[in-house]
Symmetry: C2
Subunit: 202 residues, 2 copies
Amino acid sequence: MARMEQTGVRTRRRGATLEDALLAAAWAELAKTGYTNFTFDAVAKRANTSRAVLYRRWSSKPKLVRAAIAREIQKDEVVTPDTGSLRGDVIALLTQANGRRVRLAITLLAHLGDYYRATGTSIATLRNSIYGDRESNMETIIERAVARGEVKPGVISDRILRLPLDLFRQQLAMTYAPVPAEEIAGIVDTIFLPLLKAHGAL
Amino acid sequence: MARMEQTGVRTRRRGATLEDALLAAAWAELAKTGYTNFTFDAVAKRANTSRAVLYRRWSSKPKLVRAAIAREIQKDEVVTPDTGSLRGDVIALLTQANGRRVRLAITLLAHLGDYYRATGTSIATLRNSIYGDRESNMETIIERAVARGEVKPGVISDRILRLPLDLFRQQLAMTYAPVPAEEIAGIVDTIFLPLLKAHGAL
DNA sequence: CCGTTAAGGTACACGGTGTATCTTAACGAG
DNA sequence: CTCGTTAAGATACACCGTGTACCTTAACGG
């Protein structure tokens, strides 16, 4: 700020400030029009600059998109819930994933195919960057439940551990919409907890 | 055939014959280059014709792609397995899905994102066309198990019914590869059947 | 204060889209 | 078998987004 702005002459942004504005504009375009209709032109216009400025930093559409996504991802932090009960923790974990990252996840899911093709990255890799360490959060949740004496140790297999998040993701990927609260409760109450009981973990 | 083919003059295909050749070429292109790089030009060349012939039938890329997919889908028939046991039936169903349609499913999954963005179609809609009536096959399997007295009627909710296929799809979507036989067995033996027992359905 | 750097603007070649004609082969009614 | 109708196949064109090149001028730093 500060200095001047004499007679409508627009300040010229540089460096990190500019770069951040560019990526913000890119993300906005991505959310608005999607990957397919995403154009450098539109991003440039939205950021009040020209395509040259963009090309100078990101030489192709996938690269720019990836950068915009990366910036968006590192924005919010994942917290392991601690409600005092296994049921509460799992529901909280899914709800948190639902609320915070759905838009992000939806946008990403919509472009995973292309992304995969363009980079050769496995989907699982990208999944981790979307959902952060939720898998390990699940482990933490179980460990706490064991510590409370709520769950018997050593009987929960990997597959069962992944189950709630797998079902959550499945629904998200199928509907491209936030998962309703009652669906989340359903996953936990009619699938996950009964299954733990069946395996004698509760 | 029959008539002639004088001095290298190429026969001019018409109607259904032509249309089938066009869609075959479109599918081949789709499998080769993916949705993003899919062009009318390439399809026309592969089918030894011109873009005009394509545009006359399908006015846009999504429409042509959808038609090509539809043609591919209706090629193979889905059969409800009947092995005499619930476990056998479910495993057979998943194995069948695995063997027959994985390539199709993988190709589609790899391009669904764009497709969705471009057309607004929900993934669930397309899913149904990919996996056919497997969901209703699952119902049939359960009904038979009930008839055999293997399963108690009325306790299996929709969500539980969908569970094996959901997990199967989840894994397919994450790995972009056929699901190994032991994973299929795992889904049935450590998740599905124990869950039925937990709900008192066995 | 002046030289260097990079932002912002403009122009261009290229490739894919979608439309509009034009020709000519295939088909079908008489 | 012939002739009129239909549609296949071939161009051509306007339009748009891409990626590159080049120029100018504002911002920064020694």
